[in-house]
Point group: C2
Chain length 344, copies 2
């Protein structure tokens, strides 16, 4: 593609042309030229979309919830894109179609765009892909981008960092899982969603989460109050955690996603979090950090690609020594030294 | 630690001293000095252990099966180590204890060693950690190392490459999952285990898997027979796939892990696969490939560590430009160029 053709093409993407968007995403997915030029050009058009990550334990009904959120967002007249990340897809070589089928009622709606992402290799590949896809969709003018991850692993933690607001979905009866993930989940959840709230155990799940949030707030207040402020912090927090001191505490919302119940409130809580991000300046800080992290990921990928290309012969010799009497630790160090002392 | 102290310490590990093994694993886990010296020294003592990967869909009963395999292996008088990889652990900051509790009946048995692994960052960190841990346990003289992964994601695929033999566990009633992962699963499974075989649907699951194996064998035979050999291959394969032609076709075994039923047979099928690996020379090839992949992972980690250290100031300047009017793609390329044209 000529410089001019690329400019015209990215124009179609920023105009919101669905075919251009789909083509841009394919090029980005395959890392096929001129994907880098496209991403560079689109960069100036990004930074407007609001991204919401949806994660949680399997079986909590995340996908149904995402469908209900799409409906609620469309009712407000906003354009919405969904990035669905499916961990089973490396086995099938591509994302499975389940989520698309679930979403078929939105298929003919140009205000909705749905994209499945397969995980690709290691090296932070998943978060890199997700960030690139979110960037294209942002430039294409979607108001809200929903990122759905399946499960609660390391990948999901990485992807949570890509979102402005993270919803952690739980369901009654999966209590053991809540216990297991309790320790670190406060850090990534901005809004908790107790889905399937008509089931037995919903009250207990809400109480559990609220207690957890209260404990988190207490610890934070005690830390702020300093070594002698613990009792002051205790007094401060006898009541429910409030946002009056200017900080934000995760909210708990009950939903019955398949009936659309509570989904409007869930969206409102997210919007409150978004308002807090902007007012506090935290939103700007996060966007800066996110951009820096993206730079790191792109740097890593580019460096490894380049270095393996340059060290091609050296790798062959290292393999030979490895199979004779050396070990991988010694050889790895030798290769690093060789690369960094080389000139083109 | 002095050179002499390291030599003495690694000697304790290769002698099988449980405390020394545990300490070595902690150092390796934390990447704390002198972990590299320890791994280098242990390398010469590795290559004896037989590693079995156990993966499959959640709910198939993998953990119970691992417990039953441990019992069966101990009954044969062999020493066994278990590496349990838990994807929920990044949330809790460390591996949860569930699997250890499940295994408590083996707790006082010095012939059994159980280790949980937390996933750590991206960059192939999980497979690197697993490989290092397996290496220590191999040098410590365990005859069999079981690597249990939870789920069927990209990490599991990577870890499957670490094992000599991979068992894929399924259970009746999880049929949809089998369909979803069908396409690629043949490539990693050496033995299929239909667990909970007393449940309805076990026969269907076995038939499903056998048909899948047959199709795989057919495709392979047709490929070998060349463009005009398709009908010959068809004729060859009208019967069940057999191993008479010197190739190995995955086996299907039924188990009821909680009663220990079928577990002896499962272990026998694994041993048959191991014998096939050695006889065919494929085992040696895989070990070579594995070592080369490990070298690559260690190289990547060392290179990134070194480069981020060297580029510290350049990164700061790149961040500044990024927040003004540049984009992460341009800055990443600039950093790569800066690194590779630098001298110390």
């Amino acid at each position: 593609m000529s410089e001019e053709a690329i400019a015209k093409f990215t124009q179609s993407v920023t105009d919101g042309d669905p075919r251009a968007i789909a083509r841009a995403l394919r090029l980005v997915d395959d890392r096929r030229a001129p994907y880098l030029d496209i991403l560079k050009r689109l960069h100036a058009h990004t930074g407007r979309a609001y991204t919401i990550g949806i994660t949680g334990t399997p079986g909590a009904g995340k996908s149904t919830l995402v469908g209900a959120l799409v409906t609620a967002i469309r009712e407000k007249g906003m354009r919405v894109a969904v990035i669905a990340i499916d961990p089973t897809s490396p086995f099938s070589g591509g994302a499975i179609l389940g989520d698309r089928i679930r979403m078929q009622k939105h298929f003919l709606d140009e205000g909705v765009f749905i994209r499945s992402v397969a995980t690709r290799g290691n090296l932070g590949g998943l978060s890199r892909s997700t960030a690139d896809i979110a960037r294209v969709l942002d430039a294409a003018g979607f108001d809200i981008i929903l990122i759905e991850t399946v499960g609660v692993g390391q990948d999901e933690l990485e992807i949570a960092k890509t979102a402005d607001t993270t919803i952690v979905v739980v369901a009654p009866g999966l209590g053991d899982d809540i216990q297991a993930i309790k320790a670190g989940i406060l850090e990534i959840a901005d809004v908790f969603c107790v889905n399937k709230a008509d089931r037995d155990g919903a009250d207990a799940a809400v109480a559990d989460l609220e207690q957890m949030i209260g404990m988190g707030a207490l610890t934070e207040a005690a830390r702020k109050a300093g070594p002698h402020g613990h009792s002051a912090a205790m007094a401060l927090l006898r009541a429910k955690p409030s946002d009056e001191d200017g900080s934000f505490h995760p909210k708990v919302v009950r939903t019955i996603a398949r009936e659309g119940k509570g989904v409007g409130e869930l969206l409102e809580r997210c919007q409150e979090h978004r308002a807090y991000l902007e007012k506090s300046g935290l939103g700007a800080t996060r966007r800066r950090e996110r951009l820096e992290r993206e730079l790191q990921l792109i740097f890593r990928e580019a460096l490894l690609e380049k270095s393996e290309e340059r060290l091609n012969d050296e790798f062959e010799r290292a393999y030979e020594r490895l199979h004779e009497k050396s070990d991988p630790y010694t050889e790895a160090q030798r290769l690093v030294d060789a690369l960094l002392d080389m000139k083109e």
